[in-house]
């Protein structure tokens, strides 16, 4: 691949890739910049391994992910176990807390949560959930692209993402309670 073509392809996704790197590094922007730099050079060196007609974004994000773990990014073992059955956690909590179901959720809850606190909630997920969430929320990837990037089956992407969402909802609800946005639900 010509250098100019490579740079053009890379430039299109660099913003998303930087966001992904920040999330992988738990909000550390300097570390993210180093990571993006390293991954870019490594991709540039290996640009002839990219197969034309395949997904450049997934190819690059995979290099970025590998660089992260090569730099010593920790991969914690999965310790979280959650019900396999998905449930609309926030909605059920809100109903329980007496919020009218027909209210606009953005108005009664979501718009009142600080952007930084949402980022923190993402950054505090256990690493394997942080990885898929960052690809999904920050990298704006489909299940298929995430599966390609992480070399895991689509079904695994789906179940990890669902569990990540549940963990996020629990975190956001706890946050809303601690900030006094909503009232705690008592299960007396």
């Amino acid at each position: 691949m010509e250098r100019a073509t490579f740079e053009r392809e890379l430039e299109k996704i660099l913003g998303l890739a930087y966001g992904y790197a920040v999330r992988l590094h738990g909000g550390d922007r300097d570390a993210a910049e180093d990571l993006l730099q390293e991954a870019s050079v490594s991709a540039f060196r290996g640009r002839d391994n990219f197969m034309p007609g395949t997904n450049f974004k997934a190819w690059f994000f995979k290099i970025l992910t590998n660089a992260f773990y090569r730099q010593g990014g920790k991969k914690e073992l999965e310790t979280v176990s959650l019900d396999a059955d998905p449930e609309p956690y926030l909605y059920l909590q809100a109903k329980e807390a007496g919020i009218s179901a027909s209210d606009d959720p953005a108005e009664v809850l979501f718009n009142k949560i600080d952007v930084v606190e949402v980022k923190n909630a993402l950054d505090n997920l256990p690493s394997e959930f942080r990885e898929v969430s960052a690809l999904y929320f920050t990298g704006e990837m489909s299940y298929e692209e995430i599966s390609e990037t992480l070399d895991i089956p689509v079904g695994t992407v789906r179940s990890r993402l669902h569990r990540a969402r549940k963990l996020l909802q629990v975190a956001l609800w706890d946050l809303a309670v601690s900030r006094g946005i909503v009232e705690a639900v008592s299960y007396a």
Binding site: R3, P105, K119, R165, L172
Partner: protein
């Protein structure tokens, strides 16, 4: 085709909102949502949460980083 019940519809919620269902399943869920206020509300909440997190999850690319990265390619051309 059969009609999905609330349990099944909730089970498909995440994939529905991500447009990862088959078009047939997508339609079945949609049909249920048109008839069931409680599931429709649950979907509204879930979607609102996704929008919030997506809006907060990104980062602005630092000024000049693209140029610095492109310049670093000089060394290994």
């Amino acid at each position: 085709m059969h009609d999905m019940d609330c349990r099944e519809v909730i089970k498909h919620m995440a994939q529905y909102l991500d447009r990862e269902l088959s078009s047939e399943e997508q339609q079945e869920v949609q049909k249920h949502l048109g008839e069931c206020g409680s599931c429709a509300n649950a979907f509204r909440w879930e979607n609102s949460m996704l929008v919030l997190v997506k809006n907060c999850a990104g980062e602005e690319l630092p000024q000049g980083l693209t140029t610095r990265i492109f310049e670093s390619f000089d060394c290994c051309e």
